[in-house]
């Protein structure tokens, strides 16, 4: 199989950067999964869709807004009414499409269309608050939940994957611009780009 090329190009510079007076406050990495799919249900079918996703990925999902789950191989979170973003192995979109009857909804493969950037560390919420007008406090944005939001012109879907960790999914074509903005925002607290 042909390896997928990262959109980050030369902007991806492994190592420590920014203000390291207190050590890097963050770790940033590209973590685009092999398989990314958007699964959408018809009105009233979100719970059924959640069940199908759970059956394929072993994740625990509900029909509640913002719901999500993170597993060792997969993750999923609600990105809007009746819609989930589901990640996993390269065959995930096909397996999901096969498992989802047309009566419940549809699956769209976005494996190449989205880039996932992970930001982890005590200052993750602080740095992301520079870019997004959403509340990153754990009470407002609990573990495993997702949010669909925007940074200026860049649409982003964000999942909290740990108390201080977030995966940010952006359109591939914007990934390099977003990466550079994220790194710039993180300079204040120092950051490490994981190679």
């Amino acid at each position: 199989m042909v390896e997928r090329e990262s959109p980050l190009g030369a902007a991806f510079r492994p190592g420590r950067h920014g203000n390291l007076s207190a050590g890097p406050g963050l770790r940033i990495s590209e973590v685009t999964p092999s398989g990314i799919a958007e699964a959408a249900a018809w009105p009233g079918m979100k719970a059924a869709l959640a069940e199908v996703i759970s059956s394929v990925t072993a994740l625990s999902l509900s029909a509640e807004p913002n719901t999500g789950d993170v597993g060792p191989e997969s993750s999923a979170f609600s990105i809007g009414p009746q819609r989930f973003l589901v990640t996993g192995g390269a065959d995930l979109p096909a397996r999901l499409a096969a498992a989802l009857p047309l009566e419940i909804g549809t699956v769209t493969d976005l494996s190449h269309g989205r880039t996932a950037i992970r930001i982890e560390g005590a200052r993750a919420g602080w740095v992301l608050s520079k870019l997004f007008a959403i509340d990153f406090h754990a009470e407002a944005f609990p573990l495993t939940e997702g949010r669909a939001t925007v940074h200026h012109d860049i649409f982003a879907q964000i999942q909290r994957i740990s108390p201080n960790g977030f995966d940010i999914y952006v359109f591939r074509s914007f990934a390099r611009a977003f990466w550079l903005e994220l790194c710039e925002a993180a300079e204040e607290v120092g950051y490490e780009v994981a190679g």
Binding site: M1, V2, R4, E5, S6, P7, G9, A10, G18, N19, S21, E38, A40, W42, P43, L102, G105, T106, T108, D109, L110, S111, H112, G113, R114, S129, K130, F132, A133, I134, D135, H137, E139, A140, H152, D153, I154, F171, R172, S173, F174, R176, A177, F178, E181, E184, A185, A186, E187, E188, V189, G190
Partner: protein, 996 residues
Amino acid sequence: MSARRATGGGLIDRSQPIRFTFDGKTYTGYAGDTLASALLANGVTLVGRSFKYHRPRGIFTAGIDEPNALVTVLKDGVREPNIPATGIEIYDGLTAESQNRFPSLEFDLAAVNQLAGPLFSAGFYYKTFMGPVIGPLKGTRFWMFCEHFIRRAAGLGRAGYEKDPVRYEKMNAFCDVLVVGAGPAGLMAATEAAKAGKRVILAEQDPRLGGSANWSGEEIGGKKATEWAEVKAAELTALDNVQILTRTTVWGYYDGNNLAAIERVTDHLPAAPIGVPRHRHWSIRAGTVVLATGALERPLVFPGNDRPGVMLAGAAERYAREFGVLPGEKIAVFTNNDSAYRAAAALKEAGAAIVAIIDVRPEISPAARALAEQAGIAPLTGHAVTDTVGKRLTKVMVQHFDAATGRLSGDPRPIEADCLVVSGGWSPAIHLASQAGGAPVWDGKLQAFLPPEPNQKWVGAGAFTGALTTAEALSTGRDAGLKATGKKASRVKLPEVAAPALDPFPAAVFEIKAKGKAFVDLQHDVTADDVRLAHREGFVSVEHLKRYTTLGMATDQGKTSNVPGLAIMADARGLPIEKVGTTRFRPPFSPISIGSLAAERHWRFKPDRLTPMHDWHVKRRARMMEAGLWHRPMIYGEPGETVEQAYAREAAAVRRSVGICDVSTLGKIAVKGPDAAGFLDHVYTNVFSTLPVGKARYGLMLREDGIAFDDGTTWRLGEHEFLMTTTTANAGKVMQHLEYYLDVVWPQLKVHVTSVTDQWAGAAVAGPNARKVLQACVTGTAVDNETLPHMGIVHGEIAGAPVMICRLSFSGELAYEVYCGAGHGRHVWEALMAAGEPFGITPYGLEALGALRIEKGHVTGAEIDGRTTARDLYLDWMLSKKKPFIGSALMDREGQIDWSRLRLVGVISLDGRPLGGGAHIVEKADGNGLGTSIGHVTASCYSPALQKYIGLALVRGGKARHGTRAFLSDPLRKRFGQVEIVSHHFFDPEGKRLHG
């Protein structure tokens, strides 16, 4: 020497001396000093020149309300003017300059303006420079003559032209309770809310929490007030649910409890640490806001009240207690209320001699009298200051005064003083509440405007509410915190306050009417006489008063002048102040940097959107151009080639052999669901439900009003699955259009639309040898004419990467669009380049793409411009008569089918020179090449196929003009010439070439 550093006291760190420069001279202050306090400590009392008259001015306040002491700070190679010295924390190397003076602050030539004072009264500009020219010194022409000199002579500081190199940032914050102001009231409110478990943000504009506790000299909870504030601050800092923002001014209160604040992160540092911004703009979404913004002291208006050495009493108290600075050696106090007595006692305690306390009131409270005794002086009640004397203050003139009638009596007598501290009462800082909505309410006892009833979720506390004592601040602060939490029982014990029982209500005296210039607005040189002149000339509304006199304008926004100005207008009108009203406050509360508003968007107004092959293009030395957010190759120029030569070469290569173009930017939308085909029948003018799986069709969309909206091909990938392509420019709009119809108009349709623009990399391979290139690299499928006919779709692999190929043509040649996963885009592109090498495959950019499509007469956004119909573009063959579609109801309105509409034609330059897009077509040109326009050129190029300059145009009559001649008229570019109007199908009109 007048002002000096006191031998002890203050919250400054005397172990940390700091050197700074003012007007080229080096001084020393201490950590914790402001520039104002440090200058006073060094005996510098003249710090600026006034706006209009260039009168010498000193330091008047100790905070953001400063009207006089505006300076220019030079830092990081940038001049930043009009910064109040009272808000600048000194640091080693700070360099500041005074402003609005030439050649020096001490000797300012423009001070001659004072002699022409009567000329520069209110309305001077309107009266002198507006209207018709009457005589030599009137009217707009005179203004044009004078403007240069006036602008040099009047004004504040001068900004530089250098690019600001420092960083600014934005920050978003959310909280249950935002407490604005960290004085005693704010500290109590924050503590109460925090102890109830609420998420609290406490914003304080000063570097230190505590507000008035830092200079009141009172005791709270058995401790010095400063110590109590320190303990409270430490308690709050230790809590996880409290975020404390010092050096942060909340300057805007918007709808939905959305507040704006500016944090001055590194202004107090010699240099910013890596990545740390200078200013941070905060957008704070608060559940409830506690406004504990305190009160601002007002001056009294009397002749000579602007002389260096005159200062607000509260400011003098603050300099003495917070900074250990005496603003003078022999200090006189002039007041209409008790609070100045506390200042007198503080100044005495710090080492100054109080030479007089002049009080307009006939009687004062016992507590005030006791403070006067502490200050070592018997107050002169029933007196007023009628003038001041000295370049820098040396004397004040005092006279008997009747507060009830405002009359002076007896002879004025001098009192020697080098400093006069003044208090005219206190005005609650209600600016944010006013911004939140509602008219301020006049309080006759306090002689001040109080906040309106809240119409957003805010609660007031402390002096903001008109409760001026510290005990009231603590209790109202606690109550506000409690109310913000929605709890009933407080978790915070109210501390005892040991403070003099001062009378909070001032006498209703704002002005002492005596001979001489008495300033109301020190920053804009507006005098009491100016206000009265405005009244005489009919500008009696407060809004007109402000605009006619400029009272309350400029950087301080009238913080010290608004109420005295209104009082003088009320007096002139014979009305009570509440009947005269007040202007509303608008953001910002105090000046903010434009940089903080732009923040990371400075010089970066939009993100770069890159295709998967972007780096290849750059490496290939393509000249890139912006197309919306996208970066696309314009040409792949060879050394020495012009743009025209490059695109002509590229387009010719496509016609001759084969070319390759990055079309990844085309909008791509997955349309899925059992109703997908029917939905597309609604959306497009032509039918898609009959399209077989594995085939594509060109489609046209109209807007609801029948105007053409967008075009593109849509591919049927499955029975219930389509891939819609849109123009690059309209991808977002089409997506919104589809979502709107699915959500609002036809919610019953089971259709999902998802943007997959970024999922697919696209390469157009076009030219007579295009099929051979594919045959050389595609596996897993044949690409011959049988397997892949025009508008057919196949799936295969190129160099191991899955691809989807559709045979369609924008260039008019045999052509294919090869789609692959975006992550494989460069890999597939390079494989296509390698396969095309034997055929001389040529990458081509947007210019060549444009030339090829113009030769074919294909339309783009230049022709689908929001004004043209399908018929205008001769696309009426796409208007289905078998079904309704969006726009079908209105597309045949009379005006849409009128004969005179502009319709698509081709134009050929007859003089062998280029045609310009946007140039007019005129039927008959006069001697200057001008005439009545019959249309305009939409796109133009040099056509390598025709070897002529050609263009597409929208011309009245369209086809009917084929074969006629007209003129190109482009006066902006001075391009005139004859053109021939022809069919827009310039090249291969039968379409033979695309069938190979």
